[in-house]
């Protein structure tokens, strides 16, 4: 548990932090966010005493950090910075071993730990342990930066905009890896960023700061739902604009010329129909156009008995959505559940359309760039 008790700090008479008090529980992922100059980085660096406070106390597990030996304090707090700060004169293994070495671990223990850590982030020991930082990509370097911080199993991890200098795709991957690691190791993490998206993705609690004060401290969901100040709203607007999903329903993006067959159709007939239309599966309906399921060509060929109807080989495992459903659900189904298509039904369970990858792409491009440019 990390407790901030009435912390104040000023530089040259200009207040940076005003009477800050809050508590971070064990295993929590806290993100400090706010506009530049809000005091978030100062707050972070006071925890490992890189910046001394003017007044107040910080307690880690009820121990006043100013009463602890500096090396002892810092070797038990992982620290990751934006500039990565790997030592260029040391190999990956040496960089990771810095803190264990300060703590006088045995050589074998250090080697074992290096292997273990590299494995956790999919950097094979044989390939990477003896590389130098300048022989790796920025993303790989920062992975090692995180490992260096975790090497001696600190109970607390401080991260100062660690992914700020990485390209968006790498940043995304590293965020996910970090969240995984953090949960696996149950390490109390304090993370500084100015990117609201990042904060929402990672945080258990977001601490929004402005001009040295906490404006709001809440879970990401709560902060999204009830931002307590305009500045937070602005921040979220600025940082989540790209995320605004376009309000489309399944009815709007579906294709309506669905290939349907009656459930009384014979196997060979259906096979012929599908071959001639060049499709792998077909929607099955009854006489009233009510949805029954689908039939695919594999099943027809393997299980279909010539002369019989297709009724026995109808599958029901296809996702169906109503015309009113949000288009995002269809995208989710196709993207995350790897469905080839989704069948769209109206409120009377009649088949009205089908959504495939192609129809999503088409409707997206129409929405984004207009009909003419498609």
């Amino acid at each position: 548990m990390i407790e901030f008790q009435h912390i104040s700090k000023s530089y040259h008479g200009k207040p940076i932090i005003n009477d800050l008090s809050f508590t971070i529980h064990d295993g929590e992922f806290i993100v400090l966010i706010g506009p530049s100059g809000c005091g978030k980085t100062t707050t972070l660096k006071m925890i490992n005493r890189l910046i001394p406070m003017d007044s107040g106390k910080i307690l880690i597990n009820n121990e006043d950090i100013t009463k602890k030996d500096l090396t002892d304090l810092r070797t038990h707090i992982g620290y990751v910075i934006q500039q990565i700060g790997l030592f260029p004169n040391m190999t990956v293994a040496q960089n990771i071993s810095v803190v264990p070495k300060l703590l006088k671990w045995e050589k074998e223990d250090m080697d074992k730990r290096v292997r273990e850590l590299l494995e956790m982030v999919d950097l094979p020991y044989e390939e990477y342990a003896h590389k130098y930082p300048n022989e790796m990509s920025g993303g790989q370097q920062q992975r090692v930066g995180v490992l260096r911080a975790l090497a001696a199993r600190p109970p607390v991890l401080l991260m100062d905009e660690p992914f700020g200098a990485l390209d968006p795709i790498t940043r995304d991957t590293l965020q996910e890896e970090l969240k995984d690691l953090q949960q696996k190791l149950n390490i109390t993490t304090v993370f500084v960023t100015h990117d609201m998206e990042e904060a929402i993705k990672l945080a258990d609690q977001i601490v929004f700061m402005d001009k040295g004060d906490i404006v709001q401290m809440d879970s990401p969901e709560e902060m999204l739902r009830n931002p307590k100040a305009d500045i937070i709203r602005q921040f979220m607007g600025k940082h989540t604009k790209q995320n605004n999903t376009i309000e489309l329903t399944c009815g709007e993006i579906m294709k309506t010329n669905v290939l349907k067959v009656d459930n009384k159709r014979k196997v060979l007939e259906s096979l012929e129909l599908m071959r001639s239309k060049g499709t792998d599966s077909v929607v099955v309906v009854d006489k009233t156009n009510t949805y029954l399921g689908i039939v695919n060509i594999d099943d027809l060929q393997k299980r279909g008995v010539p002369g019989q109807t297709i009724e026995n080989i109808i599958r029901n495992d296809v996702i169906t959505l109503s015309t009113e459903a949000h288009a995002k659900e269809a995208m989710d189904a196709i993207q995350n559940q790897r469905a080839d298509f989704v069948v769209v039904l109206n409120d009377k369970q009649k088949v009205v359309g089908i959504i495939t990858k192609g129809s999503i792409a088409r409707s997206l491009s129409t929405t984004l760039w207009g009909e003419n440019n498609v």
Binding site: L50, R74, T75, Y79, I81, G85, F87, N89
Partner: protein, 212 residues
Amino acid sequence: MFDWGMWVRYAPRLMNAILTHFYFVIVSVTIGSVIAVILAIALSRFKKAAKYLMPILGIFQTIPGIVFIGVLFIYIGMRPETVIIALSVYAILPVLKNAYTGIVTVDPALIEAGRGIGMNPWILLWRVELPMALNSIITGIRMSTIYTVSWAVLAAMIGQGGLGEFIYIGINSNMKQFIVMGSIPAALMAIGLGYLIDKVQVKLTPRGLRRN
């Protein structure tokens, strides 16, 4: 110009002069470099003071060697120590300048990372600052070495031998051959030591710090 007979006749004496010269260079550069690196470390802790101190030290360098050796000679006498002290003092500045620059230009992010993960100033110096500045320090030592090879000629001025002996004899007796016999080995020594230091520099630079 090249009177081989004379080279052969003076070979033992020339050999002796080369060894003496080499000895002066090695000892002075070693002493000078050690003092320089220690000074550089000290100054890098007090950057504000360094801003005023460095130019003052620079003034030393502008005192002609011949004057400095002359003054030392008055106090210490005609002894090898006089030569070594003078040459060491001259060897300091190039190393000091380079080492200081090397240390203070270490990326502040590395210093912060080092402090943040628990390195004390001493460990930070040994494991980060000095290794990062090593290249620059060696460049300074190389400069010092090459200068010192030529400054060591002055040793002969107070009768302490070295290749300067041949040069002074040559000048005093107006015999070019002696001047040549003194200066060619000196030039070769400078080139050879420079080359050697280059090799050492490459060897000591970890792969992660090599530019390629």
